[in-house]
């Protein structure tokens, strides 16, 4: 849901636009599974400005700094934090924890374009629903 909210905000700050795709960087140590995100994306987008958009995920491997080699190395596996070149154990993580929104594919809509309407209707419906509950 945070992805949908974040992307919606970013898009709305760019005016009246349609969102075609959301680009996400996902580290192997982020604790989030790519397949689970892709599976739930369409459901999370329903009734939001992101409905109908695609989620594009760029996976980021775990990269550590090896002091022995004095360089950054990509780990072939997150089960073994050691330099793939010299074998030195290292926990000095450079990247791999990312869960970041990095890009949006958008196009400008003309004012009054029908495509903006479905996005607004459910929001109002939710607000009314909340108000009704409070009124009881």
């Amino acid at each position: 849901m945070s992805i949908v909210e974040g992307a919606s905000q970013e898009a709305s700050s760019r005016g009246n636009v349609q969102i075609h795709a959301v680009h996400l960087k996902l580290g192997v140590l982020s604790g989030v599974v790519k397949e689970a995100l892709l599976f739930s994306y369409d459901i999370a987008c329903e009734g939001t400005p992101l409905e109908g958009s695609t989620l594009v995920i760029e996976e980021v491997p775990a990269v550590v700094y090896c002091s022995q080699c004095d360089s950054e190395k990509t780990l072939p596996s997150i089960q073994l934090f050691c330099c793939p070149t010299c074998g030195t154990l290292t926990g000095d993580l450079v990247s791999g924890r990312e869960l970041e929104l990095v890009g949006l594919e958008i196009s400008e809509l003309e004012t009054g374009d029908e495509l903006t309407e479905p996005a607004r209707a459910p929001e109002n419906a939710t607000d009314n629903g909340r108000l009704a509950v409070i009124a009881q």
Binding site: G31, G103, I106, E108, D113, L115
Partner: protein, 228 residues
């Protein structure tokens, strides 16, 4: 009619809201000199039992402690921890499988942090999702019990990688389950080189002194700085 789609660059951490709140909490804990320790593990690794002993012992040593405890349902853990006669509050998450910074913040509510030296946050028993959520803690402790098998860190590298200390619990059962201690330590170092590891049994008390000393040193280093 819409124009041709174009790609615009944005840079936003998806968990930004949680991270911002966690940063604010960390500052608040720092200003009031409270050392915050979170506990993560799979369900049944012994978080609550160990925490009950920890609270009792630290209180006896004059340390002002309190605890927040997260569960999907029931207030059983809070009731158990309350036996240590320190302030305890249950966070019931409903269907949510982890704690987040907002839950911590709203649970602190009317507690005056100036009256505390140390706050424990016991997370929901889960080795997956809690790894992504910063709670503003100073120290994250991950527990693995000997009954879980020595390759647990290899199966859940992310949570071990985000934790600062690993505790091997229920060591009184080591022999019965033929626990491979060397293998377990190897697994931990493999996913988190240099990680501190303490073995203990909350039941027999073995290793408990070493663990409490370790915590007290950490707590004192922070509360001393805050009071200068």
């Amino acid at each position: 009619m819409s124009t041709q789609p174009r790609l615009v660059e944005v840079r936003q951490n998806v968990l930004k809201q949680n991270d911002l709140l966690a940063r604010w909490l960390r500052q608040r804990f720092s200003d009031t000199g409270v050392y915050v320790i979170s506990l993560v593990s799979s369900p049944g690794a012994g978080k609550t039992t160990l925490l009950e002993k920890t609270l009792t012992h630290l209180k006896a040593k004059g340390c002002r402690v309190a605890a927040l405890v997260g569960d999907l349902a029931t207030e059983n853990d809070a009731a158990r921890l309350a036996r240590s006669e320190v302030p305890v509050r249950q966070i019931i998450t409903g269907t949510v499988c982890h704690l987040d910074a907002d839950m911590v913040q709203s649970s602190l509510d009317d507690w005056d942090l100036n009256d505390l030296d140390c706050l424990f946050i016991e997370n929901v028993g889960n080795l997956v999702c809690p790894s992504s959520y910063d709670l503003g803690e100073d120290l994250r402790i991950v527990l693995m019990s000997v009954t879980e098998g020595e390759d647990k860190p290899l199966k859940y590298p992310t949570i071990f990688n985000t934790a600062d200390v690993a505790l091997i619990t229920k060591t009184d059962l080591s022999e019965a389950v033929e626990f491979d201690l060397v293998g377990a330590r190897g697994s931990i170092q493999s996913v988190r080189p240099g990680m501190d590891v303490i073995e203990l049994s909350a039941k027999t008390g073995a290793g408990l002194d070493e663990y409490l000393e370790y915590l007290l040193k950490k707590i004192e280093s922070k509360t001393a700085v805050a009071r200068v």
